[in-house]
Amino acid sequence: MNVLGYRLTLTALIGWLIILVCVGSAVLAPWIAPHDPNAPLGQRWEAPSAEHWFGLDQIGRDMFSRMLYGGRISITLAFLATCLAFAVGVVAGFAAALLGRWVDVALSRIADVILSMPILMSALIVISAVGSSAAVLILTIGLLYAVIVFRVARAVAMNIVVLEYVEAARLRGEGLFWVILREILPNALPPLAAEFGLRFSFAFLFVASLSFLGLGVQPPDADWGSMVKESALAIPAGLAAPLYPAAAIALLTIGVNMVVDWLLSLHSRPHGDNA
């Protein structure tokens, strides 16, 4: 079986399936969710039943429905943040690689400085300064990750810029954007795709952590991270409730990482002794 014209390994296949399921259920949440995610429907922490597949949460809301909606929020947040990061980071990175000289130096130094503050700390300060909301989360994470993406994009572009077809384009007198969009981008896509997956999974965990620290989206909405936090009290009670969302987080991340591994493996094929 092939995807993007490459042969699919088993793990990659599993990865893709996981992503498909998670994203699919997130997108379809409003239609497939059996219950209103915010309406108390019964007793606290009712055990799973035919009616409530994952049981009810600490105030009697349907866990399964909340999971679906929660996934919606988590995935959307992480995805948008990652997109933002790439929109900013890739352009800046390519520009730095292509223009070189002071542009490169300036941008790189700025990146160094920003990245010498732990990202979590920067995010905490900004978010608790501005007050946490979906938009703030996306902007903060997106811009912080943009710096990392910048570095990666720059590195990737550096390897392409030296190639002669880029030089040829410049000799022809092509403009900066044509060179970026037509000459560099198409050839930078595979490595960037892998990086995108990686960034997404990190953004995803990052959102979860922030929510866990109480800086997530505002109630009654809950992403998976804040769902864990909300139901954390069930852990000492020996109940599985908080582990559903946590497991969901882990699952999707594993899926993404599997695909990322596969994407990366496509670019490095080490020598071997196959005689």
């Binding site: 503050m117 300060i125 999974s201 497991a247 990482n257």
Partner: protein
Amino acid sequence: MLKLLVQRLALGVATLLAVSVLIFWVTELLPGDLASNILGQSATPENIAAIRAELGLDRPAVERYTEWLGDAVQGDLGKSLANKRPVIDVIGPRLVNTLFLAIYAAVIAVPLSVLLGILAAIYRNSVFDKGVNIASLAAISMPEFFIGYFLILFMSVQLKWFPAIATIKPEQGFFQHLYVTFLPMLTLILVVIAHMMRMTRTSVLSVMSSPYVEMAVLKGIPKGRIVVHHALPNALAPIINVIAINLAYLIVGVVVVEAVFTFNGLGRLMVDAVAKRDIPVVQACGLIFAIVFIGLNLIADVLSILSNPRLRHPR
């Protein structure tokens, strides 16, 4: 080469300065003019002005920055706005705890992960390799609180093997500390080992695809020796870097783990301080984190320079 090292050092210091400016500036963005925050209800224009003067907020930022930095360099980080204690006293014990946990985890994680990585590289595509690979993948993908709560649920609440609360008490002995902080340590190494091991493996493998390794094969060198003697020395730089990154994480990035195990580390202190708008503490934490970050990267840089024969033995 010496020149190169000096350059790196200078660069590090420069970055640190820039970061300190950034920290100073960003923390001042924290909302709720802290004067009115201190005064709360009884905030009237007059005594807000008074407090601002007392805190020196009326003076130009540049002046206050230079003063702050000057004091910081001499080890005076100011007084906590929240409880008027010197920031040093507030941070000191927390920093010690954090370092303790970090070192504890690192001492176990670093050798282990490098070893695993090399083994995985040697037995590439073997069952072992695949197993380790999947396991590490999973470990990376698990949110820390997931691992943490799991460990608590089983090893603490059910089996009662280890305490769920990792509170270090001075009167406890060293081994007592090790015991108390076992679960957070375990949580941390699960995360970092995965990262470092994977990086070790990939960078060794990438070197394995180089012509001189092929040459070694054609010289009839056994696989083990090839990996250790031919591949590893050339794969050091990336490995050193990922180790540095993870060490940094162990010191500055463990807020969640601290929260799960109510471990009194720097991370939680900073979160509290941010919430309380206790700006001097936030700035101090930020500064410390930045120093750790930049310092470790610097060391990594230097080491990978030293590990490069081209630079060690110039023409």
